[in-house]
């Protein structure tokens, strides 16, 4: 066969697609097909064109476990945030000379896979069994796998049980490789999970919150105590504080945060797409304090943020932009809102 022919290229396309994709649950497909088209009733009914499509879509989703969405409220404190954890009312803007967000000098631009101490660089999008194949290729037998994203980069990969993870910038996800621990991960930062229906619960632990689900799609954001929330797409999820003192069950379309007193959960119905904009490479802030937006910008562009006008930063804004845009363009857009004057210097922005 001529490897330069269109025919070969197309076959190669199909072949690599198959080898790098998860296996299909043909049992489920057959049972579905049999139920819909081979029962005596169905042979008579031919009017299923429309509902077939809907059912096909839902049953396909079932394979990837459309079960629950859970909102997790995670809090993540890093030493890069100048926030005093002792304060009741978080006030990071105590000193105008102290930035609310600091850039990192040693700017790592690589997404890392760490297997028992050994580091490997991986790409933004890893196809289905990439992690497994890296481990196999280097003949490793790690007890724990860690995926870490730097600023400015998000990553997407699969876990051993087939669940898919989108990890936002400056985040870290780790899991142990022993069979019994396969569906338990530790998260710092932000991630979106599409969890398969596997054996037992899938648990996401963060320093501040624990989520338990059976198979759902949900987003967990836990960069800071104030800005931590969980968004549920499908199904239901149980969210609790780490000690499991407080527990909440979320319904689809809900977003949950900790209240300002941090003693209770506050749930809201939301348009979930807004919370997932980061997955598609966009910034999206709808009716959120300007401050949160500025911190996110700091994270994505690795710049330090100085606030001179605190009052302005507490104002709520609606803002959207693409991650690909130049920081100067984004600042320009922000200035057009007329709420604050934002100046961009070398690697810092000043808000007044």
């Amino acid at each position: 066969m001529d490897i330069h022919s269109e025919k070969f290229k197309q076959m190669l396309r199909e072949a690599v697609l198959k080898t790098e994709s998860p296996e299909i649950d043909v049992d489920a497909k057959w049972n579905d097909f049999k139920a819909k088209h081979i029962s005596a009733e169905e042979i008579k009914k031919k009017e299923r064109a429309k509902s077939n499509k809907r059912i096909a879509i839902w049953s396909f989703c079932g394979v990837s476990a459309i079960a629950c969405a859970v909102l997790l409220f995670l809090l993540f404190q890093t030493n890069k945030h100048i926030i005093d954890p002792g304060n009741d009312e978080p006030s990071p803007l105590a000193d105008t000379q102290t930035p609310i967000f600091e850039k990192v000098e040693d700017e790592s631009s690589h997404i890392l896979l760490i297997a028992d101490g050994r580091q490997f660089t991986i790409g933004k999008t890893c196809h289905y069994n990439y992690i497994d194949s890296v481990i196999a290729a280097h003949r490793l037998t790690p007890k724990e796998i860690v995926i870490r994203t730097p600023r400015k980069q998000s990553a997407r990969f699969w876990l051993p049980d087939g669940s898919e993870v989108w990890l936002n910038a400056e985040s870290q996800l780790s899991y142990k490789t022993s069979k019994s621990d396969l569906r338990s991960v530790m998260l710092n930062g932000e991630a979106f999970f599409s969890v398969t229906k596997g054996k037992g619960q899938f648990v996401v632990e963060t320093p501040y919150l624990k989520t338990q689900v059976f198979g759902t799609k949900f987003n967990v954001r836990a960069y800071s105590r104030e800005d931590a929330h969980v968004t549920l797409i499908e199904g239901s999820v149980k969210v609790s504080t780490p000690d499991e003192n407080k527990q909440v069950i979320l319904a689809p379309g809900e977003d949950i945060r900790l209240s300002s007193s941090q003693k209770d959960f506050v749930a809201n119905h939301v348009d979930v797409d807004n919370f997932l904009a980061w997955k598609d490479g966009d910034f999206y802030f709808d009716d959120e304090p300007l401050e949160n937006l500025l911190m996110e910008l700091g994270r994505w562009y690795n710049i330090t943020v100085y606030i001179k006008n605190h009052h302005v930063c507490r104002q709520h804004v609606h803002f959207t932009a693409s991650h690909d845009e130049d920081i100067s363009d984004v600042i320009g857009l922000l200035n057009m809102m007329g709420i604050a004057k934002i100046t961009l210097k070398e690697k810092e922005i000043i808000v007044e």
């Binding site: 080898t19 790098e20 879509i57």
Partner: protein, 169 residues
């Protein structure tokens, strides 16, 4: 009557299980959308089932392959608003070869070769051939140089070609 239908269902089930994955990925490689691919394959099996008693078992897989391809052509035509088949040269070349078994053999051979490649090579192949990214895009995303990407592809193609030789051209 009941028992012959039961055995017919069993035979169809065997066919379904044998062909489903191949047909799904075949469709997906053309249409690029999981839901559409699933619908095309499902429709093909529905049609195959409806005619199952009339058609010999041995050639139903060929029938399925043709139906799936037609489904893909219909979908692509609607999407790109082009009436002529010349837009999709690879589709038209395939019409000469509608033998499911032969197709299965050839593509399995390619898959087996791919499985022997290194993870990075497979990742690069996937991004270039399935996601149709440019060498530059792949290089950026995987933190490689464009030259390395090109080299990975060349080595992969060489390896695959060597592994296909025993089957003849």
């Amino acid at each position: 009557m009941v028992s012959s239908q039961a055995s017919e269902i069993k035979r169809f089930e065997a066919l379904y299980r044998r062909c489903y994955q191949r047909l799904f990925f075949h469709a997906l490689s053309y249409v690029g959308d999981n839901y559409i691919a699933e619908e095309i394959v499902n429709t093909a099996f529905v049609k195959a089932w409806e005619r199952f008693s009339d058609i010999q078992d041995e050639s139903t897989d060929n029938y399925l392959l043709v139906i799936v391809r037609n489904g893909c052509i219909d979908y692509l035509r609607k999407r790109i608003h082009q009436p002529s088949i010349e837009e999709f040269p690879s589709l038209s070349t395939f019409h000469e070869e509608s033998n499911y078994q032969e197709y299965e053999e050839k593509i399995s051979a390619i898959e087996n070769a791919i499985k022997q490649l290194s993870p990075v090579t497979r990742c690069v192949l996937y991004q270039c051939y399935y996601e149709r990214k440019t060498y530059k895009q792949v290089a950026e995303e995987q933190s490689l140089t464009e030259r390395s990407v090109k080299r990975y592809i060349m080595k992969a193609l060489k390896f695959i070609r060597e592994n296909l030789q025993p089957l003849g051209s």
